[in-house]
Symmetry: C2
Subunit: 340 residues, 2 copies
């Protein structure tokens, strides 16, 4: 039985279990990564560590640095270089979160007041820039041009995805391919790079590197599809962010595209008013959720996520069975099972 | 007669002359750099080149990439690597401008509507991120870890300077040392790195590298001191930005610190109301300018700039006389003579 079958036939792990198992397997590496993160976000300018540690202390899943650590270990890496690179990945992620929250005008992040709500947009933009620059300084200390190439290219792709998302905001004529291009950029690019970098530090060949990149990429797409479904479905406490944010911003996500495409004239008028014209009234979010249910738009989005999850599992095929490979397979399941 | 004496005894060049001479000497290099800039700011996401080219097409002095090109040629570099690195320097500068204008809520940049005023804050933040990431991709293509270290460290220092500036905004208790730390970060760090990188690509030793770094650093401090003086003194058309911006934002700059320190009780009350409490009325800017004149605060700021200009010229001492060294000396004079 290959890893794909094993993962599919196993009882789906609870959301907590899958990430907890991975974090447990990599506990020492992750503890060390956290120490590097805290040490290297420091600055004589006190506001920088204060703002950055607000976000870092709020927790978060540390999913992306865990991917780097796990990929390196899966490839048999026995050194310490993956620690610093996992910290780089988390810095890049934190920088994008800070800028995203400014762009989205979010008030909640990880269940707490967002940094921009607490410290202002200006500080969030500039501390994001600092963390991004510091990530590159850390990579230079590591000294691998391959790693620098992978993570600088990923950073440019992330921005392209974010700008494209801004371009199609409130535009229901956007198609599914464009939406996929957005989430491949804003989310999957860093998942892919985080996993690939693990193979690079381990000195593995192009095949393993490409396989782990594919694992990360497809996991990232699945993760974002589920995130976009949860924005219309989850309860606020579990999600750690405000439900309906995407709706209020008129963000174009797959659930809305599917419901809009399947809707009758009155429904399309509703979507045009709320998403394109952004004229929203009390009860509109509930009505939107009802329309998504009527057309199976949440289920359709999750089904799409499952396709990507399956491809992510294929990326693990070249690697021998073992606790890390099993945990990485479970993480895929975790990402889609969050939606239940 | 050494270069310092030569530069000091020469008739001060007009502002245009100094930069025009340098740009003329390096015309082919700069043309090629501009082609790299245009080619590498491209993206399938159309808003990115549209927004970026708005800023790039608006001109600007291209002072920072010229420093890289000039430093490389001064060191006898005969290859082409300095072209791509000059483009990196301009990308980093453009990224910081885009983010600065968001942070400062500026409406004018280089005499035109700023990108954030035209395209919105969100697009400016994200396109800034793209250009920053693209700069690092370009550096990776160049392949020098020294260059990557110098420019990633400079980028972190720029952000630290900007955050520190935000921290002391509206705070008249800030001292001159803190103000200097701000401008050393937000301006001088990139001038220093731009010049140093030129020595690195030329393969010159640590002494020349340090000398050009000192040249850039001190030029940058002088440049920013004069910029801060001009914000209270220049006419709007020549400056290409709104006069009094710093005053309206309550920005702590040396002219204000000097006038506040020398002021009587009534004057200090004026500065506290306008800068700390930001209660500003019609006529306040004119009154502020009158107070600066009364205490010689503009002249004092320019005198400080001249000290740094002199140190910048010292950085050229290790290099043999020639047209590029003379042009670099004239650029120093240009930077301080703008204030007249």
């Amino acid at each position: 039985m290959d890893v794909t079958d094993a993962a599919r036939s196993a009882a789906p792990p609870s959301a907590e279990d899958a990430l907890t198992t991975l974090a447990h397997l990599l506990r020492e590496d992750m503890d060390e990564t956290n120490r590097v993160i805290v040490a290297r976000m420091d600055s004589p300018v006190a506001l920088i560590p204060r703002l950055a540690s607000h976000l870092v202390a709020a927790g978060g899943k540390r999913l992306r640095p865990l991917l780097t650590l796990a990929a390196a270990r899966l490839c048999g890496h026995a050194g310490r270089r993956h620690i610093g690179l996992a910290a780089c990945v988390e810095f890049i992620h934190t920088a994008t979160l800070l800028h995203d929250d400014v762009v989205d005008e979010s008030e909640l992040r990880r269940g707490q007041a967002s940094a921009n709500a607490l410290f202002g947009n200006k500080a969030s933009v500039l501390v994001g820039d600092f963390l991004f620059a510091r990530a590159f300084s850390l990579m230079v200390e590591d000294g691998s041009l391959d790693v620098l190439r992978i993570l600088s290219d990923a950073s440019a792709t992330i921005s392209e995805g974010e700008v494209l998302q801004l371009t199609i905001q409130n535009d229901l004529s956007a198609d599914e391919a464009t939406y996929l291009q957005v989430i491949e950029g804003k989310t999957a690019a860093l998942f892919a790079a985080a996993a690939e970098v693990g193979a690079v530090v381990a000195g593995r060949g192009a095949a393993e590197q490409a396989a782990l990149r594919a694992y990360g990429h497809n996991l990232g797409v699945a993760f974002q599809l589920v995130d976009d479904a949860l924005d219309y479905a989850a309860d606020q406490a579990a999600l750690g962010k405000t439900v309906g944010d995407d709706f209020r911003e008129g963000k174009i996500t797959l659930p809305v595209l599917l419901a809009h495409a399947a809707g009758d004239e009155a429904e399309r008028a509703f979507w045009h008013r709320t998403i394109e014209a952004r004229e929203q009234r009390d009860g509109d979010l509930d009505h939107a959720i009802a329309l998504l249910a009527r057309h199976g738009a949440i289920a359709g989005t999750i089904a799409r996520a499952r396709e990507y999850a399956s491809r992510a599992l294929d990326g693990l095929a070249p690697f021998p069975d073992g606790p890390i490979r099993r945990a990485l397979a479970d993480v895929v399941e975790f990402c889609v099972s969050r939606a239940r």
